[in-house]
Amino acid sequence: MTEKPKLGVYICHCGINIAATVDVEAVTEYAQALPNVVIARNYSYMCSDPGQLLIKNDIKEKGLNRVVVASCSPRMHEPTFRKALQEAGLNPYYLEMANIREQCSWVHEDREAATAKAKKLVAAAVAKVRLLEPLTSREVDAEPAALVIGAGIAGIQAALDIADAGFKVYLVEKSPSVGGRMAQLDKTFPTLDCSACILTPKMVDAASHPNIELLAYSEVEEVGGFIGNFEVKVRKKARYVDVSKCTGCGDCAKECRLAGRFPNEFDEGLGKRGAIYLPFPQAVPAKYTIDPEKCLFLTRGKCGKGPKCVDACRAGAIDFEQKDEIVSFKVGAILVATGFDVFDPVRKPEYGYAGYPNVITGLEMERLVSASGPTGGNIVIHNGEEEIVPKDIAFIQCVGSRDQSVGNEYCSRVCCMYTAKQAHLVKDKIPDARVRVYYMDVRAFGKGFEEFYDRVRREGIRYVRGNPSEIFKRGNKLVIKVEDTLTATPLEDEVDMVVLAVGLEPRGDARKIIELLRLSQSPDRFFLEAHPKLRPVDTATDGVYLAGCCQGPKDIPDTVAQAKGAAASALIPLARGKVAIDAQVAEVNEATCRGCGFCVSICPYSAIELVTVNRMGHMVEVARVNEALCKGCGSCSAGCLSNSIQPKSFRDRQILPQIAALGGTR
């Protein structure tokens, strides 16, 4: 820097967030005395309009060329103050923030000590800001397409919205059909409309939309690049059925030698399927799939005298030679809608789910009451001795939710209402049934929920407050041991059937998505949003958005609302056609770089490559940074033995004086 540094230091009260713990006047006085500081001020809210105006006016009137703002985390307001600098004609990267809120006032109680620490943090920022360099951010084109991972209701809705806005969508679904969990449900609470009736048209729309390319039975393998320019590789798994020929007639499945031998995933194992199957009648695409782990021909190379499905298929669609296929494409935004798993009640052995066939989960109950389910909607169950129509039915709530013993402290938000709905359906189908619901609290918070809960109770369903301790068998009945906590009475309830209202859990394969997209998890293990209140659909990875239960348990209306929100966010880079590239990227000193390639391996964003340069007549390899990909994380710098790569604004010579001011020696 050739010009003499002229610093302005601005200390924010953040209402009482900072001012209650830190003596802002004392910090201001201290800052005023620091070298090169022209003006130090404090103000109630620096981020407010008048606060920013203070900075802008000082830049203009006092000729400031560097600004320190001591307030909150730069994650919160760095963009705000950079913009203020820019509007006053100063390079926006001449700003340094001292975090005296999250890293000081919020975590300390002793006012004197907190004030002393705030002074140090300000002195450190002052030491660094003088050494900052002017940087210019750039823009690159964004690919006008989006990837949606998961085609449940969240993924389908988001894909439809983005496609309707005129952009190409690649909709990737792991299983053979779109529809997800919602397709498995019978009726939806609290309005009792049929889940399939409202979902099926959307499934068909998603498959037939001219802007949507549906990749069912496919998995995302690789994601590279960055917002606006993601490079995606998807594995289309072999169905061993030529989808262009398959008419969905089902002749193959009838003939399969293993027909009816395997539990059908869609019916939660209550129904059976063969090795070639359609998951459910309304599946989209309505194409058959051969299960490669079950099919005799694929596992043993032999199926009787020849696979019967091949003979049965008049379209000649069966193709045992089919191979997995890798599809590559570029997108500008990625929407994650990978959904949830239901809690496995085997982890609550006291409820006997593993041993008693008449203890079932809520999702199994959905299939049992569904007209398209394995029993055609008749509630019949095997009690271990015979098939019966249960007359005494109990529901147990909060199985695997609000339960520290299984590691799930959270409320799954849907179980209270789906239990009420299922209790209603039982009463509807078996009018003389006695139905009890064992609950801890009933959470009927949504639109129409409380009304529905009232209606169900008026229908004669008894709610008993108590968390059952044990279920065991007596004769052909199940006995529930429970204490009615409202009357403090221990009870034993003999029933024919128990439905466990299992909660929602993060998917077992969530780790793969986390690694693919560099996502984080919140303590409940669901995917973490960028900000719980103000950026609920964004993630820490720019250009990657969340929708539905992968972010946390929610019901269908909330899922659809979030999907629409995520779609709107994903549309921002797509519609704008450009994305800004941060200027704080790593830079290589090609004169000292020895081309070892450590940084290339380390870089989590694949932003560095080795290039050959001419050094005094010798062709040598050195690292080079792709500024569009670099996030300025500094991992490369930590791994560089010759210190030849450093992030701008965080160079050693910039941060060492900062560390020294905090109490270092150099």
């Binding site: 081309g595 390639g597 450590f598 010759s642």
Partner: protein, 326 residues
């Protein structure tokens, strides 16, 4: 060791048009010394030796060669360099390949299975150095000394160098040609040097290293002899920022040695050159081997075994342990 076979192979290699020179050893000018030797033509191979005195790791010369500016209009010399390697030396070559310090196609590696080297300082206690060069060869498991015209058999345990006692890879792990039959690896000894320091309490350990590092005269021999310390512009020499000051004192010496040790973690192939060349007798091997042990035990990684390996310091696995770090 069939020296004729070695010389014949070497002559064949240096006669090739695409080979610049071969780096090997020859007899030193006195006592127990063997000297690095650059053979440029077939006639030069007569002086080439491979004996229990050839302890030095010649791989360091691959990167020590200064790349002088090439005059305009001329092409840089692209001829290959041939190098004699023992098992330990070959690991340095592999590690250099992993970190792109050298190119495979610019190298001819002559592998020499190694039965173990002597530490001449151990020999000199009983048989002091003489003005005339002493000849040593392998005899079975032991060493045969030709000392003042007298043949003396020295039992292996009396003279084997420390790094050879700990050796797990006596046969070269990379080579274009091998001279001699592979040797049977022996059971590596317990690393008593490291164990001894580990057994100390923290204050004792600090006192130990304070004593050791205080001896350092910062001649940088360790850095120069190390085959894997080869940055053209070492960060410990830089002025902005100055990580290590020029002053030779305990504090700066410690900073120098610790920085070097950390830079070598997961890269050090335990050839022991740093300690061997130290004129102040600082047991640098203990420091580097301690880190090598940690890398091996905690991460299951040993550098220099595979030229295609991912560089340890630049690879990350989510299941990497971290609880032992501070």
């Amino acid at each position: 060791m069939d020296l004729n076979k070695l010389r014949e192979t070497a002559a064949g290699i240096v006669s090739r048009d695409d080979v610049k020179y071969l780096i090997g050893w020859r007899r030193g000018t006195f006592g127990y010394r063997a000297a690095p030797y650059f053979v440029e033509d077939a006639a030069g191979v007569e002086e080439l030796i491979f004996s229990p005195l050839c302890i030095s790791n010649l791989a360091a010369y691959l990167t020590l060669v200064e790349k002088l500016p090439v005059p305009r209009g001329q092409e840089p010399d692209q001829r290959k360099v041939a190098l004699l390697v023992k098992g330990c030396d070959s690991r340095a070559v592999n590690q250099l390949l992993v970190e792109k310090g050298i190119k495979r196609d610019q190298l001819v590696v002559v592998g020499l299975p190694c039965p173990g080297m002597v530490d001449w300082k151990l020999l000199a206690e009983k048989y002091p150095e003489t003005e005339a060069p002493v000849e040593i060869s392998w005899k079975g498991d032991d060493f045969l000394l030709l000392y003042n015209g007298q043949e003396i058999v020295v039992p292996r345990a009396e003279a084997l160098a420390e790094k050879c006692r700990l050796c797990r890879h006596p046969n070269p792990l990379i080579s274009d040609v091998t001279v001699g039959e592979p040797v049977q690896p022996w059971a590596p000894a317990e690393d008593s040097g490291v164990a001894e320091v580990e057994a100390k309490s923290t204050p004792e350990r600090w006192a130990y290293w304070e004593e050791q590092f205080s001896k350092c005269i910062r001649c940088y021999s360790c850095r120069n002899a190390c085959p894997l310390c080869y940055c053209e512009d070492c960060i410990l020499d830089r002025l902005d920022p100055t990580w290590v000051n020029r002053a030779v004192n305990f504090s700066e010496n410690t900073a120098f040695h610790l920085a070097r040790a950390f830079h070598l973690a997961g890269r050090c192939i335990e050839c022991g050159e740093c300690e061997r060349v130290c004129p102040a007798g600082i047991p640098l091997g203990k420091l580097n081997r301690k880190l090598a042990h940690t890398v091996r035990e905690e991460y299951g990684f040993e550098p220099g075994l595979d030229p295609e390996a991912e560089p340890f310091q630049a690879s990350y696995k989510p299941e990497d342990p971290e609880e032992f770090i501070l």
